[in-house]
Amino acid sequence: MMDPTQPKVVGVSGVFTRASSGLVRQVSTRDTVYYGVMAITIAYMVFIVTAWPGYPGSSMELATLLVTIGGVLLGVVYSLFAAVYPRSGGEYVFLSRVVHPSVGFVVSFLQAFWYAFYFGLNGAFFAIYGLAPLFTVLGLQMHSSGLTSAGTWFASHNGIFVMGSVLVLFIGFMVYRGMRGFFRLQRWAGAFAMASVLVTIVVLILGSTGALHFASEFNAIAGSGAYAAVERAGASPGFSTLATFNFMVWPAFSILFSVNMVSFSGEVKNVRRGPLVGIVGSMVVTGVLMIVLMWLGRGAFGDRFLQAAPSSSKVPVPPFLNVFASILGHNPVLTIVMSLWIVFVIPFALGSNVIYSSRAMLAWGLDGVAPRPFANVSERRHTPVFAIVTLVVLAEIALAIFTYTTWVEILSGFLGFAIAFAVVCVAGIFFPFTHRATLERSPANIRIAGIPLMTICGVLAAPFIGFIAYRTAVDKALGANAHISLIVNGILIAVGFAWFYALRWYRTSRGENVDRRFKEIPIE
């Protein structure tokens, strides 16, 4: 079909014909990159490094490199799907059209639930990994018991819940106000966060080269000989390939998440370039920064110290990379600057969580597989208010459970995401053959030696995603295979299918043809 807005040259050179005026979408490629970087959440570096001692002999840098490569392959599959189906709503849109409506819904339902869960948990992470370390170190550096007490309070149950709730409500409000303002804020926060990462890298380089001395700075805070005592407790195992593979789940929990940009791919200016650059570009940029931070962190603080610190009683501060960098910098201003890649990034992780879930719910509502209020948008703000309020409530419940109970852990929801990634991967392998005409009419019709790029990337990404999914289900160190996590994922899948078929039956009984909607694709 001819695109009415794609002008054709006629007669005189430079003069075109056009059947109708077009539209310039407003989400730029730059915004997609910022969004991807924020969704990846480089701030997760803090607990990625803290988890390292649990995998003796693993190489953090190699694991992160492998995850970046695997993530890029998965990201290409996602971005090509976004180019074929440039509609907002996430995996739901293309899986419901490509695989089966019920599968699309269940995968989306699973994702939306866990993104709502992390909407709350990221609020907790803001206090635990951002505010508490910042105020604790500032208190020590400025000899202020008030600041130290504030740091202690931010790390307490009530501090985590209160600050997490403040952030959940703030981000919920920002998303309610609309994506124009959200993206503007994200650009500023992203720029400051990247500057903060660069400052941290410079400080770590000075530490690695001996210009700054971490051991003496640490001893000044923890007492004479403390650094050596911690280091002595650290192991120094030889390199292990298996441990490195197993460790991949941690960087994967971060790097893979720029794919959730497909939640608003319908609004991206250039749907062929935007998602590809946004998803893949942000994975590469953040992956490289993570590797650099890991390598320099090991150089500045020492492998044995980093291995022993999380379990050592001789470390009087939270055993986080950003805390150690602040101690190394030995300057309150530097401490504040180097905290920005935590406190300016985590809020936008919440943003990506709520944006994904609310847009998925909106898509469900529009297709008639969710109650109508999910399809309603505010007359003034044009945002899905009902979905956003629902998510804020769910996030508060998740935040309370994470804060006040031991039922869930950091990676409890990763299995649900891994299942979704695996389904997309497999769908990407077969899509070019099951929907050949659709692919060939789309900007995603890219082939290498005659083989569709989507199939190539899907085939190469599948073992990686399969391994990550397997590890999230069996890794004792993660909390992902906690009994409750497995039960919740099972329940979500069952509820998702039941929900879909119940709503489909209900709509059909009222004379609505829900199935017809899943046979529709965007115009060529």
Binding site: M1, D3, P4, T5, Q6, P7, V10, G11, V12, G14, V15, F16, T17, R18, S20, S21, G22, L23, V24, R25, Q26, V27, P86, R87, S88, R97, G178, M179, R180, F183, F264, S265, G266, E267, V268, K269, N270, V271, R359, L362, A363, L366, D367, V377, E379, R380, R381, H382, T383, H435, A437, T438, R516, R517, K519, E520, I521, P522, I523, E524
Partner: protein, 267 residues
Amino acid sequence: MSTADPVAALLSEADQLLAEAARRDLALRLAGSAGILRHCDACRAASAALARERPADLDFFAYRKQHTALGRMFTDLGYQADPAVAFSQEYGIDRLIYLGCRAATKIDVFLDALRMSHTIEFGGRLGTDGPSAAAADLLLAKLQIHQVTEKDLKDIATLLAAHPVGEEPGAIEAGHVLARLSRDWGLSHTATGNLSLAARLLPEWPAAGPVARQAAGRIDDLQRRIEAAPKSVRWRARASVGTRVRWYEEVGDADQQGQGDAGIAEG
């Protein structure tokens, strides 16, 4: 008014919308080809002389701060928002699009700015007496089109045949047009290209006669003014890069993207 004449029917629909907006105290001005036709008798005569094809849709300029009330007005009048962009407002498209249900095939309402190949801001400039936007804004809206059509070029010629460029009453505000073009090299490059194309095509259009000569003289005058106008530092910096870097926005199809379920059956 007879609805047998499609143009009359289109302009009648526009007038009804403008009257309803005025009744609701909303600033709404007609733009695009219909806006040029409705601007004044001279424009209508020039358009007829150039044998400009009849417009099929309606474009309006309005203020973003009034978008909620405007949306309510269109809904009250029975218009349905285009589902492909009904959920795009929050991303800042600054545009309401309604499916045609009377004479117009489609109705576009641009809010504060027209964002197409280039952005033309008209915030605070809708206080004109007539039903149409100011002639300078109508002209800029046509000059910014990167892949211009013969209809667009005839609209440019129409405006310039009907109005001199200057500061006197009834003229296209030279100061506003030149200020806009002198700070944005990309817009200036596209606009001067379109003016040259219009000048080249004028002799080829049938029965244009004195209208074409009038337009040609004023196109020449405008081009000389654009060239002579002092340029901003930003303009000069961007000019040094030239066309090696894309200088315009790529305009897509409203129906191809979005969040609605608008689409066609596969296969």
